[in-house]
Symmetry: C2
Subunit: 113 residues, 2 copies
């Protein structure tokens, strides 16, 4: 079972940022595998989503890259810039807050605070 791809919209970038925040640095393929593992195979990030997202994060100055050669194979590591670290905290906070709000909207009877 995989989630409707629409659900990922708006959260993919936050997932990437938060992974980089906790792991320090990662390469693309590693990110897809880590998300797959953590989500019990329920969230599968595709290359067609991941790489454009990473490139955009770089354009926006939120991540920096360094390329390494592993044998003859190129590997591109991503890590957060100071700006990226700040943005990550904001995004994660916003996402958690959004979830809480949505819970209330989706279940009005639990809204008695």
């Amino acid at each position: 079972m995989t989630y409707s791809k629409e659900l990922l919209k708006g959260t993919l970038t936050t997932i990437i940022l938060q992974l980089l925040e906790s792991k320090g640095r990662m390469y693309g393929y590693e990110i897809t595998q880590e998300v797959k593992k953590l989500s019990d195979e329920k969230i599968l990030i595709k290359e067609g989503s991941l790489y454009p997202a990473l490139h955009k994060l770089k354009d926006d100055g939120l991540v920096a890259t360094e390329t390494e050669m592993i044998g003859n194979r190129v590997r591109k590591y991503y890590s957060l810039t100071p700006d990226g670290s700040i943005t990550t905290k904001e995004r994660v906070k916003e996402l958690n807050d959004f979830f809480e709000t949505l819970k209330i909207v989706l279940n009005p009877r639990s809204a008695m605070v």
Copy 2:
């Protein structure tokens, strides 16, 4: 403070469906106001999002409409069809499940099950 509009993607339809499930029937403007109220003004559904979404739900056979005249003003009520009711339960379940999964992904240290 309003959430980044990207966050709503993939959840708007579920919000509408669940509101109809709990309220029985609602009209468009009423939906925007109810979501605004329940979310403490943090989720503001725009007409440009709402009406296309409602029309799509109708095309998909998930909601039915009835038009009423309130004074000289037209009001269009939406309610769930039997199909819509089933879909609503599935969507809400999927969304809650997605949140749980995402929590784990966003905070690996809490993933020790």
